[in-house]
Amino acid sequence: MNIRLDKYKSKRVMIVNRGEIASRVAKACRELGHTSVGLWTDNEPDAAHLEFCDEWVHLEGSGNAETYLNMDKLVDLAKENKIDGVHPGYGFLSENGVFSTKLSEAGIVFIGPHNEAIKVMGDKATSKKLASDAGVPVVPGTSEAVPTVKKALEVSEEIGYPVLLKAVAGGGGRGMRACQSAEEVQKQFEAVVRESTAAFGNGDLLVEKLIVNPHHIEVQIMADKKGNIFHFFERECSIQRRHQKIIEEAPSPFIGEDEELREDICQTAVKLARAVNYDSAGTVEFIMGADKKFYFLEMNTRIQVEHPITEEITGVDLIICMIQSAFGEDLQIPSQDWIKKTGHAIECRICAEDPITMLPSPGVVTGFETNFPQGVRFDHCLYRGLEVTPDFDPMVGKLIAKGLIRDVAIRKMKAALKGLYIEGLKNNIPLHKVVMDDPTFIEGSYTTNYITEVAPQDKIEKDINYVSIYRKLAAAEARNMGM
């Protein structure tokens, strides 16, 4: 009797994140009847995600190291506030095995996979070894950290250029550089070590063969604590800049109608998840060459930025499943056969950056308005007056459009981009508009080199649009006149 009551008891969930994902988790908690506890820090007292959180807690400090990365303080705060579970979102401590261990030692549930899975998959060397032992194909390269430039050059010689220098602890595009020649390896080695030491506290590097014209395809996995592992089909995330995704699609237009290949890649992902007894939301990333052979890249042991497109095509709320799984509840998915994909979804990441150079551009949002067609979802943390600071990632929102077929999804995305106004802050909406009109994108034949080779950014019309400037000034005049 007690067990049953406990099972359905409302839980207190602390969200150790900010921005769009914190709002998303808070809304999921609300739906499940749990109490969400949001955090705010000294350099972001107006945190927009608090709008959806039931309780607000002050996380003292200003830099990320003092706040969202400060494990001991976060564990203490969780204890103080009688928290049952902590959701880490993405980034920050979402893939930190030490944090999840500290939480479980304090008797608090970490809403994510078990420590062992985070540790094994968080290290590129051990994850690669585990994958090849489980019979999952991996990219040729070193399976252990390369200590010196000299060794890196030797390995590169052996597997042949171009090669990729990768931080063992890296992720999300950080601590990764492609090198076409020995000189570049020489030049970049130190920079990658420095970057990854600063970012992850671990400067170990791997050297890998660079697959030319690759597709980045990943499979969404969701598992519970009883050993049920489900896949939610694949996503194509090949449109990237600086190894960070900007546009994602589900299902992959490259796999297209090839259901056999789709089944193969999805089952391979499930196989890998089973090898680590996976028990939460996760993503198995693959790199696919033009010959449709795929290799395991890495497994992200967290919810990903682009999870909404999978939710749109399968109709399953992944954040809710993640919370249910963490508390040992039923995922409410009877079997794999119930997970069907319908339609096509595209996500455009809206970032505070220069649309042409794609460099981050902090600033203040002076105007914000949306006007979307049917089938569009916008997960964001924008409001008028929001100040985008260099402390955090420049992504401010995710625009997701869904249609029964890909052409419809593209049409809806184009309309949605037209209906999204962000004023005062440089953003990449002009880039997304150009991509949606680009023949290579429409054909669906793009690779990860799309931004460098097709260079849609060069087609952005830069001329000063006088009418658009007059409109904005006229509205200001009208307001001044008291209209």
């Binding site: 600063a198 600086r242 042409i356 002076t366 308005e369 260099p390 962000i422 000063i464 409109r471 209209m483």
Partner: protein, 168 residues
């Protein structure tokens, strides 16, 4: 009234409001033009109408489109330029620095300084690495010359528009 729009690279746009016609309490017509090299061009009439609490605008009083609700703009966006808006006056001291002066384009942290005072540098050399928004940016010189002064240290957190280095 004259409005000055100036972006971070000191590109300047001068917009004049030449006429205001109040048709009704809900409909106003404005006439704008721009001043380019002493000539007025791009003359346009803009109609503003208030509907359900929002401002709508039109160039012909027929086709209307909504304007994003915003504060009185101090900043205006045109694709890859953000203009600061100065209504009625032009601020002084906004001219661009000499080309040998390296200014930060965005706030960030100095990760590494590759040169010291007295070093010879060539155009395109990476003189400094600045970390901002999760990535390292190589700051390159746009001139050949000798490093005259380095005003920052490794580890410094900088605002936008800070003078980092002078090259002569």
């Amino acid at each position: 009234m004259r409005t000055y729009l100036i972006d971070s690279e000191s590109n300047e746009l001068i917009v004049d409001l030449t006429k205001t016609i109040k048709h009704s309490s809900k409909l106003v017509e404005y006439e704008f033009c721009s001043l380019v090299e002493g000539k007025t061009i791009h003359k346009e009439s803009i109609f503003i109408r208030k509907l359900a609490g929002n401002y709508y605008c039109s160039t012909d009083n027929k086709a209307w489109s909504k304007i994003a609700r915003q504060h009185i703009p101090h900043r205006l966006l045109n694709i890859d330029q953000v203009f600061k808006v100065y209504r009625g006056f032009k601020p002084s001291g906004l001219s661009g620095g000499a080309s040998g002066e390296l200014l930060t384009q965005m706030p960030g942290k100095v990760v590494k300084i590759n040169v010291k005072v007295g070093d010879q540098v060539n155009k395109g050399d990476c003189v400094l690495i600045l970390e901002a928004m999760k990535m390292e940016n190589e700051i390159k010189t746009s001139v050949d010359g000798i490093v005259k002064a380095v005003h920052v240290h490794e580890g410094d957190a900088l605002d936008s528009g800070v003078l980092m280095m002078e090259i002569e």
